[in-house]
Point group: C2
């Protein structure tokens, strides 16, 4: 139980979690300047040691190739001088953001004279479980430290050499600062048991954030007793209403689907009001096909375009993350709302319409983190929202919903000032 001593055991996860927990208390009390100095030191040393990082990354890439990793995953794993420079720029950007810790959220004086202040504080220790991309390591560390949190990282085994090199640089950079080296911990065990252990460490971890595919997130949701911030799965829809202007609806739909198909705010299903007009309907299908999108359509559309694939029940619930789109005709805005509330993942849903009443109905009744009126689904993003940084996009309703920036990595506490009050 003793929190000020590291247990003499050889278990990597417990040992590192204890170190992070102990480091989190002094870290929570640092000033914005002290935390910014630590981040600036990290940025400078990452830039200086870019070559070392690229050499380590090359080991991961070679191993990936040897074991037949797909080109898409190799792309996400691979670093370049440009990508390291982007990481450095990202850390420097976080330095420039406002520190939310210490903000007074409310202040009350009660009739009995008690003064009750609600103050923003760090969460404590954040656990991250994530997949291939090594930039997540640096992003997460900079956001955690900026908000006064310690962090325990468990990246994928395929990026282990890269992550070890990055964390070694971060540790070296921190030695000259007020932030303890122990505030950043990398779990190096590639054993899946290490992940299971992290999910049960309620004593040391205040929150667990999974970032990656649907399977990873489901595994964490099902097995973690540590509170989880669910991120990322986006089965997003665009609904084109009867009154939609095709000059707006068509480019907006193409943007939502094709601008970056592999990310969570890309649209996966298109719903079209059956009375939008045959020419308009055929035009939007053609525009998507011209961008290389494979369409899977409902039976009504299949009559218009028998050359297209018929959608299956499963397609309506699938996050394709690729140039594939399911398309369905609906009778009215209410059918669109029902379809979305049934198959959506509460991420981002868009309506294109000139009918204000339908827009209001859709925006009120669709249950999602973001509901967009005449705007592409692609805007659900911390940077587009003006948060300056993003740790992920929450699809749950507790704590944080939608893009999560710095305040979402904090909690609060009540400071109660008395002069001897007792309860009558």
């Amino acid at each position: 139980m003793a929190m000020d001593n590291i247990d003499n055991n050889n278990n990597e996860v417990i040992n590192k979690a204890q170190r992070a927990k102990i480091a989190s208390l002094p870290l929570s009390l640092l000033s914005a300047e002290e935390k910014n100095e630590a981040l600036a030191s990290i940025a400078a040393l990452l830039a200086e040691k870019s070559d070392t990082i690229l050499i380590a990354n090359e080991q991961d890439v070679q191993k990936g190739k040897k074991f037949g990793m797909s080109q898409a995953i190799l792309d996400r794993l691979s670093l370049s001088a440009k990508r390291v420079a982007d990481m450095v720029a990202g850390v420097r950007q976080v330095v420039g953001l406002e520190d939310p810790v210490g903000e007074v959220l409310s202040h009350a004086v009660r009739p009995n004279g008690l003064v009750i202040d609600k103050i923003r504080v760090p969460l404590g220790v954040i656990g991250m479980i994530y997949e291939a991309r090594p930039n997540v390591t640096v992003d997460s560390v900079s956001l955690a430290l900026k908000t006064g949190n310690a962090i325990i990282l468990r990246g994928s085994s395929s990026a282990l050499a890269s992550n070890k090199a990055l964390v070694a640089v971060i540790h070296e950079a921190l030695t000259k600062t007020k932030v303890s080296v122990d505030a950043v911990q990398l779990i190096e065990s590639v054993d899946h048991h290490a992940v299971m252990q992290m999910m049960k460490l309620n004593q040391y971890l205040d929150v667990l954030i999974p970032r990656g595919g649907a399977d990873l997130i489901r595994n964490v949701l099902e097995n973690s007793t540590v509170p989880v911030l669910e991120t990322g799965v986006g089965n997003c829809h665009v609904f084109i209403d009867e009154s939609a202007d095709p000059a707006m609806a068509i480019p907006l739909t193409v943007n939502a689907k094709t601008h970056r198909p592999a990310v969570c705010n890309a649209a996966e299903t298109l719903l079209i009001h059956k009375d939008w007009g045959k020419d308009n309907i055929l035009a939007v299908l053609k525009a998507l096909r011209d961008q290389g999108v494979e369409l899977r359509v409902c039976s009504g559309l299949h009559e218009l375009r028998p050359d297209l694939l018929l959608a299956t029940e499963e397609d309506w619930g699938t996050e394709f993350l690729a140039l594939v789109m399911a398309v369905k005709l609906v009778d009215n805005v209410d059918e669109a709302i029902r379809h979305i509330n049934c198959y959506g993942t509460k991420h981002t849903e868009a309506i294109v319409t000139q009918n204000q009443q339908n827009a209001v109905r859709f925006m009120c009744m669709v249950d999602a983190a973001a509901v967009n009126y005449n705007a592409s689904t692609r805007f659900t993003d911390g940077f587009e929202y003006g948060f300056g940084a993003e740790i992920g996009i929450s699809t749950q309703k507790l704590h944080a919903r939608g893009p999560m920036g710095l305040p979402e990595l904090t909690s609060y506490k009540y400071l109660v000032y008395g002069n001897g009050q007792i309860r009558k």
Copy 2:
């Protein structure tokens, strides 16, 4: 999957969860007036049917006696005309509170012209798993409906007749209002499997709130895949610093321990600075003993009062919820902070001191929902904080910390207004 149809199956939990989910959407759109009318109707009918409720409660009490239920639990289970009247008054009080739903939490206009509003919305469907007290049924329903949430109740089997009678009255009262009867569901199965099912119903439940003993809460935390709001376990401490005025410290400690020993904000351990003075130390121990408190003391105190029990390691981590208190001498404020951060449950911690520097250190470094300076631990409570109502006291750091009132039963969504914006 179809959310607008009730599956034709005989499973009580799934069937009722589907009904609650469907009822939650129209409920989320009702005005404050419409929700208040429903609450007023419930209050009036509860008052009118007080006798019916008392007859049903008497069945539970008789069954409890027959099966040897302890007097303490029988007391919590038993209703009286006065207790029903208190429930009615509680519902009427909730009518008078401000409706948080629809509040604009932020408003931004982005450089590309997008308008982004962050709006408070209901959580959706709340699951409650709770123990004996039937008043929790009525409290939870009124808070859930006021905030536009549907609710699924699973009380203890020992209170089933009482809860059935209460929910029957609530249902009858709702038939004349805009709130669907389906928005309030009582799980009647006494099979433990029903509880396990609720904990996995992510498709229909947005949050699960356990209220009861430590075992109940641990079971829900360990098994639920639905996000949980952890409430209630309070191993709270009072720390009397070297400079504390005994005229303040002694009555404050006695109040924190004895005012209502069975509740979560009662103090369980007393920490005393070793240099507070022998007379003061003996005086606080005597004052506690005079109120019937059994003391379990550290070895240092045992030398002063060899007649008192020696505390075990387990005592420091125990929420006694009774007239028992563990007492320990500490060297300084830092040892007090370390002890609390090791054994505390992040609920409420108090310092009594005249030393401002130590007060600040304690308030910053103790990790708890509420940290009190010269004020009894007993003040951590929604009513004492001026919230007007309370669904429980959160001891976790995500979403809500400390007393949870109406806003803590809500989430938010982003409404994004554009005129055809696409992402470049």
